[in-house]
């Protein structure tokens, strides 16, 4: 049997791109398949209009001018759920997105394309809480540290600078009695700058005589506030300020001359054989070209699934791989919530020396409060359309109500806001500060991904995704909401709304192909040899609440090393 590459990786997102670079550096030939488009590459000058080339393997194909044209920072163009450039769907934007069944109010926020969802992630790159790993996972936190360090150097990860919204958060957190942390490994509660995969601002940014458009073409963050809408700022693709994998790891992978990236290629089936010695083992991938609809097969010695916590289990289930009751199950997603305060200009002048918070300035999230055992709180600021929709439109509770102050002195309002009240809130947009709640929710077998028995798309039966929080998860979230409201209150917020996000918000999706249940501690499937996983799905749990990408990237680095030792 002729092979097309040593290793085929499915998915060029947060994990797959890391594995590609690490394997390429070891001299292993990699073919990296990606379902979506590739922005900032000369072989696809109009990636949403035309099919373009089949693949690219040269760093010379990367083009910062194209990236600047394509990542417009306009929130509708980039992030509209149905047809945004950073949506879950085919590159061709005339076509609908790929539907997933979320059988409640909620949605799955993922993006296709080289870089995957890291294209619009906020680049928050904290490590896991050690207490969520040690004596829980099949490996120890200590074993992860060298891999964390390698990823932190490569991305790189830096403490976020302070802008107005971080300063207001620190002020409120300090007044609430929390202490400051300056560690990468928090073991007790406290606040700190977010460890972000964002380059520090260029020194010329603060020079009043510099031209901001020119500064945006230099190395370093410009604090433009559009991490969530895609960052185009930098002198070349590999030196863009925010470090999604299409910026950080893909250029390094191409530099090895061992990695070929093939966008617009949707993996529909894992191909296997029954080997006399190894048993069932992966031999390749069946795919569908998203432009032409043509199917094909590609063969390799090893296959890595890195399609994300929804698609990796879907691909397993649609490939008739051996039955395993944990495939797709045990989903955690940090059971998010969102709390927003509005401030008086006079108070802001006193605290910040300026009359507005301006939530659209600075990194989308530049600070955090860590509480190992409970979860995290992050101040965050997004552009107005996203802010309105996430703060006032997206609630478990369609019946807005005003809190009775005697029941709860901290937040005044909860649930959806419409009509004149919505207009009133939005007129204060510049004076708002929001806090995101990430709960240390625990894996539960009833939560996760199954295959819809009735609905198919062009890639087979579609995934159906469900989640119900446990009583303990709800209690943790409630505590975090109170803490966040308290911080806003102490910082002087005049009115506080808790949005009460629906439980079916799927963003930090983890642990649907859990280590110890579906894969071993090298992330190789127990039941299918030569099949590895390097996305969030192999996490044993939700790592305690911190944002999962860095941990996935550390594990992808480790898995690349392990599989190279075993099979090459």
């Amino acid at each position: 049997m002729s092979i097309d590459a040593d290793v085929i990786i499915i998915g060029a997102g947060g994990g797959g791109a890391v594995a590609a670079k690490e394997l390429g550096e070891l001299g292993i030939k990699v073919m990296l398949l990606e379902a979506g488009p590739w922005y900032g590459n000369k072989k696809w000058e109009n990636p949403n209009r035309e099919r373009g080339s089949v693949s690219s393997n040269s760093i010379d194909d990367l083009d910062i001018n194209l990236l600047r044209q394509q990542y417009t920072k306009n929130e509708h163009t980039m992030n509209a759920y149905e047809h945004g450039r950073l949506r879950w769907g085919p590159a061709d934007r005339r076509r609908p997105s790929w539907y997933r069944n979320v059988p409640k109010n909620g949605f799955i926020w993922q993006a296709t394309g080289v870089g995957g969802t890291t294209q619009h992630y906020w680049a928050n790159s904290p490590r896991a809480y050690s207490m969520a790993i040690d004596d829980v996972w099949p490996l120890s936190y200590r074993e992860l540290i060298p891999y964390y360090e390698k990823v932190e150097d490569t991305l790189p990860v830096r403490p976020a600078p302070t802008t107005a919204k971080e300063e207001l958060f620190y002020y409120g957190a300090k007044k609430s009695g929390w202490s400051m942390l300056n560690t990468l490994n928090p073991t007790s509660p406290g606040y700190r700058p977010n460890p972000n995969a964002i380059l520090h601002p260029n020194e010329q940014l603060m020079d009043p005589n510099s031209n901001l458009e020119e500064v945006s073409k230099l190395e370093g963050c410009t604090l433009c506030g559009h991490c969530v809408n895609g960052c185009p700022h930098g002198p070349s693709v590999d030196k863009v300020a925010k470090r999604p994998t299409n910026i950080s790891y893909i250029p390094l992978a191409l530099n090895t001359n061992n990695v070929e990236v093939r966008p617009n290629t949707y993996a529909t089936r894992i191909l296997t054989e029954n080997h006399p010695k190894e048993g069932i083992r992966a031999t390749g991938v069946q795919y569908r070209d998203t432009w032409t609809g043509e199917s094909g097969e590609l063969y390799a010695k090893v296959v890595i699934m890195s399609a994300g916590s929804i698609e990796s289990p879907r691909l397993w289930l649609n490939s008739d791989l051996p039955q395993n009751s944990w495939v797709g199950r045990g989903l955690t997603h940090h059971y998010w919530d969102w709390v927003t305060g509005v401030f008086d200009e006079k108070d802001l002048m006193g605290i910040l020396g300026q009359p507005h918070v301006n939530p659209f300035v600075g990194p989308t999230s530049g600070a955090r409060l860590d509480y190992p055992g409970l979860g995290c709180i992050q101040p965050a600021g997004v552009s107005p359309g996203l802010f309105a929709s996430l703060t006032f439109g997206f609630s478990e509770n369609g019946n807005p109500f005003t809190q009775n102050p005697s029941n709860n002195p901290i937040w005044n309002q909860q649930g959806r806001v419409v009509g004149h009240e919505l207009i009133e809130w939005m007129s204060n947009y510049r004076n708002t500060l929001s806090m995101m709640i990430l709960t240390d929710d625990q894996p539960n077998k009833k939560n996760g991904v199954t295959i819809d028995p009735l609905i198919k798309d062009e890639h087979g039966p579609i995934p159906m995704v469900r989640y119900t929080a446990s009583k303990e998860d709800k209690q943790k979230r409630e505590k975090l909401v109170k803490m966040a409201s308290e911080i806003l209150h102490k910082a002087g917020a005049k009115k506080i709304i808790r949005t009460d996000w629906p439980s079916h918000l799927f963003v930090h999706i983890e642990s649907t192909m859990r280590m110890g249940f579906v894969v071993d501690d090298n992330c190789e499937a127990y039941q299918v040899k030569r099949l590895f996983i390097t996305d969030n799905s192999m996490h044993f749990n939700g790592i305690g609440g911190p944002n999962p990408t860095l941990t996935t990237q550390a594990l992808a680095t480790r898995t690349a090393e392990k599989l190279a030792n075993i099979y090459f």
């Binding site: 609908p96 409640k104 990468l184 500064v215 107005p384 359309g385 929709s389 997206f394 919505l422 609905i455």
Partner: protein
């Protein structure tokens, strides 16, 4: 009482439209059940209507009009859908310069008709959800009216093409949405694909609220005459006066906003 009768006659017309059009946008493989379901739905709503008008009139005129209503044109259907979402977006972000002025009704219809795609016999196709969604809003509104829980009497003059939902006052529209979300309507009478599908109802109701806000406060209206074109053919044609009103400067190259660093370098 005359007023009530007029409302009832208007309601009846709309009800017939609902009954007559259920199943027109059916999903693959469900056509058979829709056919019989249409009859059931019609009978049920007819019976509710009869109860409403029975104090003054017999229910006879209702069944009298049955035959032609089944042939309601797509055009009337789309006028009805449009009127329903005009009423919805106007309640969400009222004038002046509200969501209706910015034609968010068009945006909602567009997104609903491009939200779900599935594999059909000859390839992938969109499930057109806008007209079915308008119908479930009407059914909820109808139930609200017939249970006499409206705060303000329905007024059919504002949206002549609309049904019960668009005849409600803005507060009552949200009350109708509430009973729909709380599943206090009979899910068996809803048109496909909402029939007995509480998950999809909740999903879409939240989504249309979010989309009015996202459409209104993002750059969508600034696309001007290209706002309903295929996404890659849209162009910013005018200033975003909503952003101006929020004092949001729009995408910027950067801000001179560094206040320092709380931590220069983390310790291990």
């Amino acid at each position: 009482m005359d007023l009530l009768v007029n409302h009832a006659i208007k309601l009846r017309k709309i009800t017939l439209e609902i009954g007559g059009n259920v199943g027109m946008d059916k999903i693959e493989g469900e056509s058979h059940s829709n056919q019989s379901h249409r009859g059931q739905l019609f009978e049920q709503i007819k019976s509710m209507m009869s109860n409403l008008v029975s104090t003054e009139h017999s229910s006879q005129p209702v069944s009298h009009n049955n035959s032609f209503s089944v042939h309601m044109s797509d055009k009337a259907n789309s006028f009805h859908t449009k009127a329903t979402f005009m009423a919805f977006v106007d309640a969400m972000i009222p004038s002046t310069l509200g969501a209706l002025d910015l034609r968010l009704d068009e945006y909602i219809v567009w997104t609903l008709d491009n939200y779900v795609s599935i594999q059909g016999e000859w390839g992938v196709k969109n499930v057109q959800l806008s007209s079915q969604t308008a119908k479930i809003l009407d059914i909820a509104a109808f139930q609200l009216i017939s249970s006499e829980n409206v705060k303000v009497p329905p007024d059919f003059s504002t949206y002549p093409d609309g049904g019960p939902f668009s005849a409600l006052s803005p507060d009552d529209r949200f009350e109708a949405i509430r009973i729909l979300e709380d599943l206090q309507v009979d899910l068996e009478v809803l048109p496909s694909p909402y029939r007995n599908n509480s998950g999809l109802i909740k999903n879409i109701i939240t989504s249309i609220h979010q989309n009015v806000m996202f459409g209104y406060y993002s750059e969508w209206f600034s696309f001007g005459s290209t706002r309903l074109a295929y996404p890659e053919n849209r162009r910013i044609e005018r200033q975003n006066f909503i952003w101006d009103s929020l004092n949001y400067p729009g995408p910027s190259f950067g801000y001179r906003a560094v206040r320092g660093f709380l931590v220069d370098k983390f310790s291990e």
